[in-house]
Each structure stands twice: as structure tokens, then as C-alpha cells.
Symmetry: C2
Subunit: 296 residues, 2 copies
């Protein structure tokens, strides 16, 4: 199966489950549920849950057993998008080709919808009745590991430095900090969660962490490149918005060619970490390669 096929089938698998763990849009109070579902159903690629599943399968895990946790990672990703788009943060009007959450539901509901998606993610990540085949201590470990990755020493730390660096000249170290934390930490944590929930051995977890660290950074570098080179219709968000906001990006600091080369090298190094898994890690290898070749 090609990476495109694996991702497309993985996306279908997640999409079929993703609303089942949320109240339907008419549940009282309806506005918040409509708002949450609006962003959840806005057409994400579901890369994070698919990576979680691929990592679980690389160590012999079963995708059905970990589905709630996988879906939770998409809620986390969606919460960050809603809050990032707020006027006080990135002030974006368009996301995935549609008006951003606060443009449709107002800022108050958008703040609360983000809060609610993060909360619902934790609700799912701690639901031992839905993941009864997984030992409670492993669920706890995976949830704890995830919260570490998305707090101020991880994702939120990256968001803060990103905001505070707008319009300023920054060093290559600061740029790498932003990208590794803002984007890489969650991607790596998804891969780690798949492994932890599937009771991986320590050397497997370490190998997958290293892989996750490399492709997480590569993913954000490619995002920077696409912000310059892609069509708006392909990307579904404002093109050139990084440049408009004087955001720190790899192409701004290194140029397009060097950035592309850096992403290729990271993916190569990431894939090299997967040797111990044999062909069970083929989907992870293919996804890594796909990251550098994607056009959206």
C-alpha cells in the first residue's frame, strides 16, 4: 500500500469514529457543540491519529484498541487551531478553505470550543472502559506523556515563542525551538502514545521517539515551504500569511532550496531509526517520505 493509500484509508477510519465521541450538534447547549463539530469536520488530514495507529501497529498493537486515544489527538490538534486563529493570536480568517471558528461562532464560543475540545481529549484519553484491553497504568502513562508534550515545555512553549518572535529577527536556534515545540512535540507524542499503549519495549519507544522528533520538525519546515509555494485552493488557508505576519520560517532564514534539503535529511534520519521494526514500520517510512512530497 502506498503512503497516499495508507493515509487515505487511515483518514477514513478516523473520520468514521471522530464524531462518535462528541455530543451531536443539537445537544444542549447547541452552540458549543456546533462550534466544536464545525472545526473537527473541517477536513483535516488526520495525520496525528494515523501516525499514532501506525506506531502502534509497528510494535504489534491493534488499532481498534487505541482508537479513542487516536481520536483524542485530533481534538487536541483542532483546539490549537481554533485558539491560534483567534484575533488576539494569529488573527486568521480562513482555515482549511472555510471561515475560522470565531468568524462563524464569535470569539467567546471559539475560546470555549477550544477549551472543550482539549477537555474532551483528556476525557477520551482516560476512558478505560473504551480501552479495556489496555492496562490502566499504560493508559495513564500515555496520557501523562501527552500532557507533557502539549504544555509549556512543549507545544504551548512553541506557541508563546512564535507569537513573541513576530516581526523580530531571530536566530536559527530560536526558529528550531519554535518548530520543534509548536508542531514537533505533538507529532512525536502521538507516535509515542501509539507505542506506549501497545506496550512497546523501551528500545522500541526510543526508536519511535527519535523518528517522531525528526519527522515532526520536517513536517513544519514543509509547512513553511508550502506557505510560499502552494496555491490557496490546495492549502485551504491564506497563502503567504507567514510572510505578511513576519513570522519566523525556514525559507525566510535559509531560502527554499536549503529548507527543502533540510526536510529531506530529517526524514531520512527519521526513517533510519526504524530499522528494528522491519516491514512493520513500512507505513511510518512511507508517511515520512510523503511529508516531504506533499503539496497540501
Amino acid at each position: 500500500m502506498s503512503a497516499a493509500q495508507y493515509l487515505s484509508q487511515g483518514k477514513e477510519y478516523i473520520d468514521a469514529a471522530i464524531c462518535g465521541y462528541l455530543p451531536n450538534e443539537n445537544t444542549f447547549p447547541a452552540s458549543i457543540h456546533k462550534s466544536m463539530l464545525y472545526s473537527i469536520l473541517a477536513g483535516g488530514k488526520r495525520l496525528r491519529p494515523v501516525l499514532l495507529i501506525a506506531a502502534a501497529e509497528a510494535v504489534g498493537g491493534n488499532r481498534q484498541d487505541i482508537l479513542p486515544f487516536a481520536v483524542a489527538t485530533e481534538y487536541i490538534h483542532t483546539y490549537t487551531l481554533i485558539h491560534d486563529d483567534l484575533p488576539a493570536l494569529d488573527d486568521d480568517d480562513l482555515r482549511r478553505g472555510k471561515p475560522t471558528n470565531h468568524k462563524v461562532f464569535g470569539e467567546a464560543i471559539a475560546v470555549l470550543a477550544g477549551d472543550a475540545l482539549l477537555t474532551q481529549a483528556f476525557y477520551l484519553m482516560t476512558d478505560s472502559s473504551l480501552m479495556s484491553s489496555i492496562p490502566p497504568e499504560k493508559i495513564l502513562q500515555a496520557a501523562h506523556d501527552m500532557t507533557d508534550a502539549i504544555g509549556t515545555s512543549g507545544m504551548i512553549g512553541g506557541q508563546v515563542v512564535d507569537i513573541e518572535s513576530e516581526g523580530k529577527p531571530i536566530s536559527s536556534e530560536t526558529l528550531e525551538y519554535i518548530h520543534v515545540h509548536k508542531t514537533g512535540c505533538l507529532i512525536k507524542a502521538c507516535i509515542r502514545a501509539g507505542a506506549i499503549l501497545s506496550q512497546s519495549k523501551l528500545d522500541q519507544l526510543e526508536a519511535l521517539s527519535n523518528y517522531g522528533g525528526q519527522i515532526g520538525l520536517a513536517f513544519q519546515i514543509v509547512d513553511d515551504i508550502l506557505d510560499i509555494t502552494a496555491d490557496q485552493s490546495q492549502l485551504g488557508k491564506d497563502i503567504g500569511s507567514d510572510v505578511d505576519k513576519k513570522k519566523a520560517t525556514y525559507p525566510a532564514l535559509y531560502g527554499l532550496d536549503k529548507s527543502k534539503k533540510k526536510a529531506d535529511e530529517l526524514v531520512e534520519e527519521g526513517i533510519a531509526c526504524l530499522e528494528i521494526f522491519g516491514e512493520k514500520a513500512d507505513p511510518l517510512r512511507d508517511i515520512g517520505l510523503f511529508f516531504t512530497q506533499r503539496t497540501f
Copy 2:
């Protein structure tokens, strides 16, 4: 020991621990940690963690064993205050006698500080290494129960209806929905968490849930009353702000006397649920009575 003494000693116990689970204010990136600590250290009464501890002790639990979880509930409470105060929500300038978080750190950091406190709360609630005397399945159950209470079927649901009811005539049912959900759910969940973590029996958990439901609502009714009757110096926030915002309150719907009577009745009913615990529940009884007598 009087309720005032129990609460004051409980506050000291929590205050001594509350910063130990957060990065210090100079940890990079400093702005977010300063912002989190600013609100955490703004002088809360620590009622929620103290109630958690009192419930645990009522069923024979040990306060040291559950301290991280207790502290986490104060992070949750603080996150809701920061987000509630934002211009897009309640637009409050003063909280606990000090400028609100976004007034000091800006809206972007205030949004992220709320997110980070919620995340840090989950980090603590799932930290089995810090709560090694508690079985992992109990930690998981308590964390899951807590997330249920603070999501859209609980606290966030109450916040949404509160915002959407401003300036409109509302029914007594809607007012009760707002108060039970916005304030009561978290208070009740704290009491339940203390019991669950201390391996309470089912009838004990049920009795404490009933107590929590009653005093949680009573607490918010008294908050409404104090918004009208207290001095700003006592309350530490804008007085009469509920009236200014045309917020739905008990005094507005029932008058001050009937509201006071309703709060007294709720506490009485709550205390009646505690019979099975004997004198081990004395602190819970005293805190209930204190709720209706407090002046701040």
C-alpha cells in the same frame, strides 16, 4: 477545629505545594510562566482542593497521597477565571483585587496561560509517580470523572448558557442550569475525586456526590448575593458587575431574602447526606455552613 481554621490551615497546606508543580517564573519561555503564576498566586481561597482533601479524609484517605490531584483542581479553577475574564467573555478588569491576567500580560498570553493551566492540571492528575500509593485504575477513574465534570455537559456547558443568557429574561430552570453547571460541577467533582482516589465504597461516593451537588449550588447563590452586598475591598472584584452585565442571578430572580434561604436549605440538605461518615465528615459539615456565612 472551626471551619475557618480548617480552611485556613488547608489553604496554607495547598499554598505550600501549589508552585512546586509548576515551572518557576524564569523558566523559558518566561512570559507564560509569569502569567500562570500571577493568577495562581493571586490569593484564591483554595476551597476546591481543600474540599477534595476533606472528602478524602472523610473516607479514611491520606492528604499527602492525593496532594497533586488536589492542587490540579486549583489550576483548573484558575484557568476558568483567566478565560472568563477575557474581553470576548466577561471582560473583567479586576479579579481578587488585582488587574486580570489579560490586563497585565495581554490577551494572547492570557489565552495560552489558561490553556497551559488546564494542561498542567491534566499532567498532574495523571502523574502516577507522584501518587504511587494510589492504584492506577483509581487515578484514571478520578481523572476521567473530573474531565466529565468540566466539559460541555458540565462546567463549559454552564459558561456557554451564562454568556448566551446575558441581558435576556430567563427561567428559574435556566438559572439553576447555569449555576449547577458553571460552578457546582467542579466543586462536586473535587469532592468525588477525593473519595475515588481514597478508594471509597459506592455508598460513600454517592453520599458525597449528593453533598457536593447541594453545596456547589449554594456556593454560587452566595456568590450572587455577595456581588450585591459585599464591599469591593472584601470581594476583590468589581461589585455589582453581575447587575451591570445583566447577568442572571438568584437575587435578581428571587430577591435577597429568598436567595439566602435557598442557600441555607441546600447546605442543610447537603449536610444531611453526610450521616454515614460520623465525625470524620465534620470538616465537610463546617465548610458547608461556612459557605452560607462567608463574606468574601
